[in-house]
Symmetry: C2
Subunit: 467 residues, 2 copies
């Protein structure tokens, strides 16, 4: 399978970016055409509701289309041209640099919690195909039938079906990471899973890049000026906490609030009014129960929602602690508990926050609620150090698929914090630069030819130029 | 030392790019001012000649100045702005992304063969300081007095001398790699040294990036159309092979040539006319003798230069083999032998070359000599796969310090082939992105404010715009 993918990739990497863009658009079309067939398969395997699954198919299609736009723009190759300078000491040659697809095959480990958008039809696959790479996906065991069917749908839109491979099972995943033709690995999942893959990669003779997005606690800081409407704040928190039964890597697991009785009362009421639901898999449910229960003896339960009528459903749970108790419980209290659970930490003074923020592990997001930029200003650098995305007066769930999005963060949120798994720059993970020195124009890739036939943005002699 | 550097870095990272640029220019000035004092210190420790050392001080200054230009341009932060779109489904927030310096301290292992330009005053240090990071350098034991003196010169130009630390000795190097405040490591040196550092990093709880540039064999392919002037070709090869007593990571260690008696005769004569010299350290000399001697029984010696009058000097040596013999001796025959040694491999047909090129390990450079782009065209993709820089009718030694330069290559040339240790994009290694979602303009870094006060190139709503 990996050998076949590598062979197909040899052709794919030579195709012009515009042609790859057309293929990505066709994949998006194929996913949307298959929507009626696909969402019930996903529902049966994940317990996720119809509206969410339909929305996620759209998100998958949008991701393929974004990378089609990226290819048409051409900025992803980061073309840089330095003309020769014979008068320099020593004389400077003509040097032209651009990104090329990484050699071989990209391995992708699918996530459980987004059966479309972070799985076989996910951003890792879309960005790797866009870069010009063949991909082999290790299916998530939480939705095997869906994985197979989605792979078929995507293959039907590819010029060579071998460009996308699908493997199943732990051992096949290990083989994928070890295979000499696999040159980069993407992963979305747990810290434990990510560490296991990193350990396998560390055994390889060649240190290939591992782009793991491992989730996080996503701290939210509520500043005193944000207390004007405590009910709205509490309801926003409860909604973000319980969205998708809390099964998002951007789930708000830590809320720092002023020690304000009205706000705590509002949070209690808002969380009590929520309904949880069934979790994706029995293992995830067990992990949630174990993680949440470990807080029972240590912290005070502030509020509990309803489990709802579905068998095996879990109830949202929120604990509380003051800043001192919480700080003394670090780092354990800042470990992610995947599911609808959070800790509300009460503080007395804003000036008490920086120290605890600096002691938190890296997160994908950090949020501040405030009505006053001057009040929030001193905290922003700490939040930007703590997380890959800083959010103002919003909630961390919901990761827009755009050019500027960064979905990554300091360890343990990401294994390579420089890279993102969502947004246009996700394509960079599957590229590597080549510089061409003094090559005749006829031998250069179109992106680097003197007359810029593709009209892409380039840096020429140190200056960015737009066609 | 590392703690002090981290503290100094906390301030440095907050300084505007323009201010950091001024500091880099001052470092360049200070190095040039100290030239008369520094080059004799280097000569006494490295046996390198005056002209070379003076040139290298200039190169170091040029590197600091290039990164000052990079900072003034502002493109290194890769500012991307997506305005909010309330009409989208779901509504899109305002997202603005840019690179920030990595947290903590950058660790740099200096190389032996460039006592200025890849050592304490090297590109790793210049690019990391430019990014906004504090640096601690592990001095190379080949030039300890110079390392200390250069560190003093650089510190004298820094706003806080603690921004640059210097440690010496193997154990201090290990501590540097293991230290929790070190967030990225740069290295230029041997494959063995690089593997040792990678192993230490693999033991860390957090998988920090390791940017190792480990050298390579730098294959050169001579095509039949290039045989018009065999003497010029042979002299170019011999000069590149013996430059700096062959102690360059871009030294041409493999030359594929048509089985042409005249060319082989010219190479023999050109190499016989060379003089080697003293090597940088006794260990490097021993490594060269062992490596070259291991070929004695296996391959035919084609030519040998003179050692020259200096005690302990080595003589350049060139071996030869036909393509079949060479191919059967892979991968051992493609291992780098650091010093003035090469293998000239004779081939019969151009069509025999792609297979052997695909079996070579990754290199920093791959060169083709040809008078006919049509003849060379089929090989260019293989060369671009094999190496990070493809050179036309030139020689691999000499790495221009420019915007487009890429000095890196597939493993084992680099541990992270996506990155370069020379050229403007080397700064990226010490940066990590942050996205700001819906932040008020007043809380955004200047690079992301709506009115673009710094006038930097940015991508706005998907389109690259130049101020």
């Amino acid at each position: 399978m990996i050998n076949e993918a590598a062979r197909a990739g040899e052709v794919w990497r030579t195709r012009p970016a515009a042609e790859r863009a057309e293929v990505l658009d066709r994949v998006a079309d194929a996913l949307l055409v298959a929507e009626e067939e696909l969402w019930p398969v996903a529902r049966d395997e994940t317990a996720l509701p119809e509206a969410r699954l339909r929305g996620e198919i759209t998100r998958s299609a949008v991701q393929f289309r974004l990378f089609a736009d990226v290819l048409r723009d051409g900025g992803h190759v980061e073309a840089i041209i330095d003309h020769a300078d014979a008068s320099a000491t020593p004389p400077k040659p003509d040097v032209r640099r651009m990104f090329q697809p990484v050699p071989g095959v990209v391995g992708v480990f699918a996530a459980s919690n987004f059966p479309f958008a972070f799985s076989v039809a996910g951003g890792d696959v879309a960005s790797a195909l866009a870069a010009g790479c063949a991909v082999v996906v290790k299916a998530h065991p939480g939705h095997p039938a869906l994985s197979r069917r989605v792979a078929e749908v995507i293959k039907s839109a590819l010029p060579d079906p071998d460009l996308l491979g699908l493997v199943e099972g732990l051992e096949a995943g290990r083989e994928l990471v070890r295979h000499p033709l696999v040159s980069a690995v993407g992963f979305t999942g747990s810290l434990r899973g990510g560490k296991a893959i990193q350990a396998l990669i560390n055994e390889r003779p060649d240190p290939i890049p591992f782009y793991g997005e491992l989730g996080s606690v996503n701290p939210v800081v509520v500043l005193p000026s944000a207390l004007a409407d405590p009910v709205r704040l509490a309801e926003g928190f409860a909604a973000s906490l319980t969205l998708g039964v809390g099964q998002f890597c951007t789930n708000p697991g830590l809320l720092f609030v002023p020690d304000d009785a009205e706000l705590l009362k509002a949070i209690t009421a808002a969380v009590a009014a929520t309904t949880g639901g069934a979790m994706l898999t029995p293992a995830i449910r067990e992990g949630f129960e174990t993680g949440a229960s470990s807080l029972d003896g240590r912290l005070t339960e502030l509020a509990r929602g309803l489990a709802g009528p579905i068998e095996g459903a879990v109830a949202p749970r929120v604990y509380t602690a003051d800043l001192t108790t919480f700080s003394m419980g670090l780092p354990e209290l800042a470990e992610e508990c995947f599911g609808p659970s959070a800790i509300v930490v009460t503080y007395q003074e804003i000036s008490d926050l920086p120290e605890v923020l600096r002691n938190l592990p890296g997160s994908l997001t950090a949020t501040v609620h405030s009505a006053d930029p001057v009040e929030a200003a001193p905290l922003v650098p700490d939040l930007a150090r703590l997380a890959g995305r800083v959010i103002w007066n919003g909630w961390p769930t919901g990761v827009a698929v755009t050019w500027a999005m960064h979905h990554g963060g300091p360890w343990p949120a990401s294994t390579t914090p420089m890279h993102t798994s969502v947004g246009a720059t996700a394509i960079r993970r599957w590229q590597t630069p080549v510089a061409y020195q003094d090559l005749p124009d006829a031998l250069l890739p179109a992106e680097l030819r003197e007359d810029n036939p593709l009209g892409i943005p380039r840096r020429v002699d140190g200056v960015v130029s737009v066609a």
